[in-house]
């Protein structure tokens, strides 16, 4: 029985490898990428303004509390969730595009042993983890949920925050 399982693993592995290699050698890598939508430019102010609007709950609150349209507010939240997911996916696609930027080095030359390449890998992995986490939170709790978990409920953190404030206040008084 175990041999059969291992044989199945080996066959599945070989099929996977041949499938991947066939695609990687024959397909145009840009085909898959053209289907994705990109963030126009992250440096572009309008693009960032869009994220401010998507993740800002003030108009939903205004709709629900001041105008008393809770159903409309719910519809707006659903739409915003969809937009937030699309925004995050576009951001991820643009990031992948940056990652795919090739470095052109003549074939005779040896690849530079860049000390920064591990740092760049860290930035890439960090971004991937954060964006996956953000997508998960938006999918599960919507766009208006706090993305970073708050630690305010921990008594220690409240105390330390309070002591930090007190120290800052004392320092400002003594400097006057």
């Amino acid at each position: 029985m175990m041999t059969l399982i291992y044989a199945a693993i080996a066959i599945a592995f070989l099929i996977l490898v041949i499938g991947f290699l066939r695609k990687a050698l024959l397909d145009d890598p840009d085909e898959a990428l053209t289907e994705k939508s990109y963030a126009a430019s992250v440096g572009n102010g309008r693009w960032l303004d869009l994220s401010e609007r998507i993740f800002d709950p003030s108009d939903v609150r205004w709709l629900a509390e001041e105008l008393a349209f809770p159903k409309l507010a719910k519809i707006l939240i659903t739409e915003r969730r969809r937009l937030a997911i699309r925004w995050l996916k576009a951001l991820q696609a643009s990031f992948d595009e940056v990652v795919r930027t090739p470095e052109i080095i003549p074939n005779d030359a040896v690849m530079p042993a860049s000390t920064g390449s591990w740092q760049m890998l860290w930035l890439t992995v960090r971004f991937k983890l954060l964006v996956s986490y953000a997508l998960l939170v938006v999918r599960l709790f919507g766009p208006y949920h706090r993305l970073m978990p708050s630690i305010a409920w921990i008594p220690f953190s409240r105390e330390s925050e309070y002591s930090l404030r007190r120290e800052a206040l004392a320092h400002s008084r003594s400097s006057r």
Binding site: M2, T3, I5, Y6, A7, I9, A10, I11, F13, L14, L16, V17, I18, F20, L21, K23, A24, L25, P29, D30, A32, L33, Y38, V42, G43, L48, S51, F55, L91, S94, F95, D96, E97, V98, V99, R100, T101, P102, E103, I104, I105, N107, M111, S114, G116, S117, W118, Q119, M120, L121, L123, T124, R126, F127, L130, V131, Y133, A134, L147, M148
Partner: protein
Amino acid sequence: MHIIGRFPLFYSYIGYGLCGSIVMYLIYWFRHGSYPYAFWLYFLLSIVVEFAVLVEISDHLFEPFPAIRQLGRALTISISFGLGVVYILPTILYSSGRHNALLGFALRASLTKAAIIGALLLAARHYGLRLEKNVAGLILGFSIYLGVNIVNFSAEQIFSHLYARILWVMSPIAYTLCLTVWLIALWDFVPVPGTSTMSPVSRRDSEAVPFELARFNNELSKLLNK
């Protein structure tokens, strides 16, 4: 010579295989009693050397892309270390008898290498990378060799006496098949794809990549901290 300089670890491994086989034949003919020990030593060393070849393959996969140049190496080392500790080490420590321990080690090392190749190909697919013919051939040859080894070692572990004679024939056949694939794939040197085969959307200055990566991270961190 061009291609030897491009894959130094792989050609060292081939050299090791060739010299090792000659030495093994000499031991078999002249010091028959020492052959089993010499064989297992040669075999275990070759398993370790194969990990080094995997590191070289992984380096070549992501070579043209500075942002993920070390991704292959990071995946290879972390999977080797992780599975080495939780999957390979227990079979060495807790197997009953040397024969089972060695076979268990060989089987699990082959599965670990297969997992590394799978992870590398998934990462390459995720980023839509185009593989060059030489590296694709190396991966295919290695995969055939590993696939046959996995079936062989598991069958040998379970039907030890029945399968021993088949294993004696199957292992060299698998290695010959693997060598044939490598011979075809590495017959001529295929350079790293030039800019014409790269994504037209990604034609930007590669020196700006670290700043772009940092900027994306900053923007996302700002969003998460709100």
